[in-house]
Each structure stands twice: as C-alpha cells, then as structure tokens.
C-alpha cells in the first residue's frame, strides 16, 4: 500500500521527486544504493575505505561512469604512489567516458588538496575522486564547504580514513573482499573472473548507518568475454583478520 501511495504521489508531483533525486548520485548497485538511502548524497565528502583488493576503486569507477554520462568528472591520482593509477581500459569497461574525465596527477598530499580545491571551485565536475590523503582539519573544512557549494560528490579512496577525514566525511563506506571468483582450476587456463565485496556503511549523516550491501564485480577482461553467470567458476572466500575486526569494532551488527 505504501508503494502504491508512493507511486501515486510521485505521479502527482514529479518535480518534487526530480529535485530530491538530484541530491543523490546512484551507483546503480541496487543493494548498495538501498543501504545508502537511495544513493551517494551530493554535496558531501564520501570515503570509500578498505585495503587494496576490496573493490573500492570499482565503486569509484561506477560513480565516475555515472558522472561522465551527464557531464564532467575528475580523477586525482598519484601514479608513483602506493595506490598507483587507474587503468584506462578498465575504466572504459566500467562505462566511463574518458573524453569527459579529467585525470590530474598530484604527487603529494598538498598537491591533492590544491587539485581538489580548484576542481570543486569550478563547480563543473559532478564527481571528484581523490586519494584519501592525510590533511589538516582546515583543509578538509575548506573542501567540505566547496563540495557543498558545487553540489558535487568528493570521493576519497584509501585504506583507512584519518581522524580529520572521519570527522568531515558525511558518508563513510567500508569495503572488504568477500569472495574471489576464478574461471578454471588454476594455472595457465585459469583467469581472475571477479570479486564479491561487502560494503558496510560506517557513517551516514542523511540516512541510517550500519547497513550492509554486497556488490558483485567482474574483471574488465571477463566482462568483454563470456557473461559471468555462464562461466565455470571456482570461488574462494576471503576471510581476513581486518575484516573480522571491522565487523566487531565499527559496525553494529
């Protein structure tokens, strides 16, 4: 009945819903969007936290794809750093329009902050992805203010957020690998097929935190080949100490 009422109300007042939807950027992953209360909120800092291999870059790539389908997006990265640089063919496979993606090279934390400041000040980039560097609280205050003014989504990617970033981020999503899928038994005839990741909403200022979602990812090479469901798959569950600790400490289960 609630659903029916909602549909009727929506039909009666489409403008109100359009405005409401403009405040969210959907990832397209139904479970994750539902856990976030509809999608990633615009105008705030969002952190995607997790160790390498946890799928945080895959979520960021999906957000960039959505942003470039409507306008411009920006990606700030440090190719020489520990996290490396996004691989353009994988971004294309994720749906990113590379002609509308500005890639900025920033080699240290100050350069990242300056780049994010300039990009957000332009208010022309719907999504700005930056590495989760350690900055002073004053810098995060400024970036949070600019993000709000630009109505953009500032996404930080990193293993763990600094204390300052934890405070200024309105949405914090903790990613961890759950299942790794391989096609084939091993060796030469085996390829990495994909990864299931678990997303835990650690903090959300506009919706209820503590929810969890599962996201299925395929490698870009697997996506170009046979559909994931039709491939002979071998699964390996990943149970890391860090993941167990995350459950116990940050998220109310």
């Amino acid at each position: 009945m609630r659903a029916a009422l909602s549909v009727e109300h929506r039909a009666a007042s489409p403008e109100a819903y359009t405005l409401a939807e403009e405040r969210l950027l959907r990832s397209g992953f139904r479970e994750l969007d539902a856990a976030l209360g509809g999608g990633f909120p615009r105008g705030v800092i969002t952190t995607l936290e997790g160790p390498p291999g946890s799928g945080r870059s895959a979520i960021a790539a999906r957000l960039l794809a959505n942003a470039t389908s409507q306008g411009l997006a920006a990606l700030v990265e440090s190719p020489g750093g520990a996290e490396g640089a996004f691989y353009p063919p994988a971004l294309v496979a994720a749906g990113v329009d590379l002609s509308r993606l500005l890639v900025v090279r920033a080699d240290d934390a100050t350069a990242v902050a300056r780049a994010a400041d300039i990009l957000l000040r332009a208010a022309a980039f719907g999504v700005v992805v930056i590495p989760g560097v350690a900055l002073r609280a004053a810098a995060w205050t400024r970036l949070a203010s600019l993000t709000h003014r630009a109505n953009a989504v500032l996404v930080t990617l990193g293993t763990a957020a600094s204390d300052e970033l934890r405070y200024f981020a309105s949405v914090r999503v903790r990613m961890s690998p759950a299942t790794v899928r391989w096609s084939g038994e091993g060796g030469l005839f085996c390829t990495l097929a994909g990864l299931d990741v678990e997303a835990a909403i650690l903090k959300h200022k506009r919706a209820a935190p503590g929810k969890r979602a599962r996201v299925v990812c395929a490698t870009f090479e697997a996506r170009e080949g046979a559909p994931l469901a039709q491939t002979t798959l071998r699964e390996r569950t990943v149970a890391t100490a860090e993941r167990t600790q995350t459950r116990g400490r940050d998220v109310a289960v």
Partner: protein
C-alpha cells in the same frame, strides 16, 4: 618569373638529427609512432640498407638492422620550418610555404643577379643559428619545378632561361611525385625519364592518362606555370607596459595586468578575431624575465576571461623582485566566433572549465592535467595513453541534451590499478609463486594463482620477455606480479 627554391631533403630526418646529435653519423628511420608505427622518412644510408618509406616499423627495422629508429616530432618540425620561412622574409617579400622542407621565393623586382639572389637567401638563413644548422639547399630557375630540381641537384645550382628542358631531361619520373601504379604503366610503355616523357605527343598522352597528366608533360619539358603563392601573413597582437612604475604587491600587478588585457582584448575584437593562446612576459627589477604561456580551452576575445586565465596562471608563480614591465601577446588568432546557445542544457561552461585547467596547470605543472585514452597494444602497459585535456570535451552542445543516466547494472567492473614496477621477493614452490613479500611488509601466502601469461616481443629492439601471474594473497590483496628473467616485480593490483 625568377624563383629560388629552398629545399631540405629528408626534413624529418634532419629534425631528428638536430634533436639528437648522436644520430649525425648513423642511419636513421623516422616513424610516426613507436607502437605499430610506419616509417615516414628514411635517410639515404637507411635507404641503401633497404628501409623504405611506408614500411611497417618492424619491416623497416628488419631491413636496416643498423639503423636507429626515432619517433617523429611534428611540433618541433613545424616550429623550425616557421623559423626558416620567417628568416627567408629577409630575402624576398613573396615566400611560399610548400610544406615542411620546401619553400619558394619569387625574386622578380629585386635588384641583382641569380648569384646575388642565392647569396641573399644564404645570408638570410645564416642569420638564424637554428636555420643554419639545417642542411638546406637552394636552387634558382625561372619556374618552381625547375627551381626545385635545381635545389635537388645541389646547393647553388642555377638553371638559366632556356636551359630548363635540357636540365630536367635526364631526371627519373619519380621527381614528378607520381603514384606507383602510374609509374608502372609508364615503365611498361618504356617511359623512364623526363626526356622520354616530354617527347611523347601531348594530346594522345593527356587523353590516355587524364587531365592531371598535362602538368606532368609540361614539367617534363621544363615548364611550370603555377605561380608562387605567398604564405598568409600572421597578425601579431602584442601590447607592452613599461616605464609606468613598479608593481611590488600582487594587487598592483593584477591592476596593471587588467589594463593590459583590456587593451589586447580591444585589439583582438578590432581585428575580428578570437584568441586561442596568450603569452605573458614579466620583467622584474633584478633583470629576471618570466614567461607564462596559457592556452584557452575555447578561443575568445572577452577581456574578463583572458584576465581570469592569466590571474590563475600567475597563482603558481613566485616573484623574487618587483615587476617593472609587462608584455602580452595574443596567439592562435581565429576568425570570428560562434554564439553560445542559451539552451545548452547542463553542459559545463567552457570558460569556467578553462580557468580551472589553467589553475591546475599553474599549481601542478603543465603535464599534470591530462585525458586518458585507450589504444591498441599487446602489453597491458601499452594499451593506454595520456594526452592534453582538449577543449572539445566540454564544448557546449547547441541544444539541450537529455542523456539518460546509465542503466542500473548489478555487476560492477573491478578496477585495475597500475603501479610503478617495484621489485618484490617471491618464493616459488613447484614452479608457482607461493609466498610474496612486498617492500616493507610481512610475507604473505599465495592462496590462488592464475598464469603464467608469457609476453615475448620487441626482439628486434629492446627485448621484452616476462611471465605475468594474478595472485590472491592471504590478506585479500589481488595482485599482478611479473617474473622478468628471475627478478620479480609488482605491476598492478585489482581493486
């Protein structure tokens, strides 16, 4: 019509040798690009070894193994040729740019003899050190074709009136620039030089080979009636501000700059042009000169936009002493302008994005702002390229676009992150990686492994031979590691 031709044979090879002095004595092949490239110029030594223009790079390198392969630098080539043309302006007011490496000068009305004209061309080129470094050859004749053949024959060759036909007669047909099919047809008819071609009856030859063959026949007889077409004059819009006090503070400098920009913008609008690039030079009290070049995302004549861009560019500049002079040059002037639509939908304002790009370049350096593209390549690392973020990405569309958002897709795409290759320690058990130790980390056990995938290529140049593996470590990391002849490297990670 007295004509002097200035010719740089193998111009691209000359540019490559100017860029790298070590190439002066070795055979050189110039390619359009390194990956899957083609030879676009070869020096005489490489030609003698068997390399030919149009061959794939692999073919050319295999034919001339001793030759060094270099990638073409068209920007440098064009810039240097512009300098040559500018230098030739001193010898004649009518200079034709016939492409990189060829120029014609009409000498009619200039007092002097053939030798004096050639000497004036030599002097004009010698005045510029970079032009003098190029192996240029000049020849004189009474028409363009004969003058070019004279320059080809040797520097300082003179073909006097009435000698054109006899001068070009022994030359092979290739000098006419005919396509291989036509050359083969003429060869089958026994026509192999210009003398034989000129001896053919004009009418039947043109009927058989088409209207363009009339030119071939005329040139074979030493006749070329095409006029020398002067190159378009470049309008230079430049304003200076000197002797009006010193700017010690940022506000003073910006005030002066705003005035200067307004004058330049007026000049651009008066000429009916739009400006695509700006060059600002600051002269400081201590004699230091700082040059700042700025490219506009979309050409404009609006002074506010030009000022905002220059101010953004200045943000990254540290001045050691007060500024005593400013010089501003508007470059890349284009005709007219297009009206921006009022109904441009949600596309970003190109000027806003242009200013953001200028700020980023000022803050992080010109190479920090890029756009990625996917290219064909065998290896992972060779499948992506980066280029300057051009303005066409954010040019406003003339109508409102209602692009639907991407359709929901429950399966995402795992991203791959390229890492700067780092040596790692890998213990191998039964021929497969078993324990991986990353720099500064504890050893991790390999839970699953896929591979190896062997890469073995470029054997003709710098051999690349390695075995790549995808490994899942016990901490959940998904890495691509590579065994390069016993040394292990971390190449990337899935995330």
């Amino acid at each position: 019509m007295p004509v002097v031709c200035v010719l740089a044979s193998s111009y691209k090879v000359s540019i490559a040798r100017l860029n790298d002095a070590a190439l002066a004595e070795v055979p050189v092949i110039v390619a359009d690009r390194r990956e899957r490239g083609h030879a676009i110029a070869v020096c005489p030594q490489a030609y003698a070894l068997g390399a030919r223009v149009g061959m794939t790079l692999v073919q050319a390198a295999a034919a001339a193994r001793e030759a060094t392969v270099v990638v073409d630098d068209p920007a440098r080539g064009r810039a240097l040729w512009e300098r040559v043309l500018d230098a030739l302006d001193a010898a004649s007011p009518l200079v034709e740019d016939a492409g990189d490496g060829v120029a014609y000068l009409e000498m009619r009305g200039i007092p002097g003899s053939e030798r004096a004209w050639l000497a004036s061309v030599r002097d004009a080129l010698a005045a510029d050190a970079e032009c003098a470094a190029l192996p240029l050859s000049a020849g004189f004749a009474t028409n363009k074709f004969a003058a070019r053949m004279a320059a080809l024959a040797g520097n300082g060759t003179i073909v006097r009136i009435g000698e054109e036909r006899s001068f070009v007669a022994p030359l092979p047909l290739q000098v006419l620039g005919l396509d291989p099919g036509t050359l083969e047809r003429l060869d089958l008819l026994g026509v192999r030089d210009l003398r034989t071609l000129a001896a053919l009856p004009h009418g039947p030859f043109v009927r058989r080979f088409g209207p363009e063959s009339a030119d071939w026949h005329a040139r074979a007889g030493g006749v070329d009636e095409t006029p020398v077409v002067p190159r378009p004059r470049r309008i230079a819009i430049e304003r200076k501000m000197f002797g009006e006090g010193t700017a010690e503070r940022e506000e003073q400098l910006l005030f002066a700059l705003r005035t200067l920009v307004a004058r330049v913008a007026d000049d651009i609008a008066y000429a009916g042009k739009r400006c695509g690039a700006l060059e600002l030079e600051l002269e400081c009290e201590d004699g230091d000169r700082i040059a700042l070049a700025t490219t506009l995302a979309q050409p404009t004549a609006q002074s506010t936009t030009l000022f905002d861009l220059l101010r953004a560019r200045l943000e990254g500049t540290a001045l050691q002493s007060p500024v005593i002079g400013l010089r501003l040059v508007a470059q890349r002037l284009e005709e007219g302008g297009t009206e921006l639509s009022l109904f441009a939908g949600s596309d970003p304002d190109p000027e806003v994005v242009g200013i953001a790009l200028a700020r980023l370049e000022a803050a992080l350096g010109p190479s920090a702002v890029r756009r990625a593209s996917v290219i064909a390549g065998n290896r992972y690392e060779a499948r992506a390229a980066y280029e300057a973020f051009a303005g066409d990405a954010f040019t406003r569309s003339p109508r409102i676009s209602f692009a639907p958002p991407l359709a929901p897709n429950e399966i995402g795409t795992l991203a791959y992150r390229i890492l700067a290759p780092r040596a790692i320690d890998v213990r191998v058990l039964r021929g497969r990686p078993a324990i991986v130790t990353l720099p500064g980390a504890a050893p991790s056990t390999v839970i699953d492994v896929a591979g190896p995938w062997r890469v073995d290529e470029a054997w003709w140049a710098e051999p690349i031979a390695n075995d790549a593996y995808d490994v899942l470590l016990d901490d959940g990391a998904l890495l691509r590691i590579v065994d390069e002849r016993g040394t292990w490297f971390l190449y990337g990670s899935y995330d």
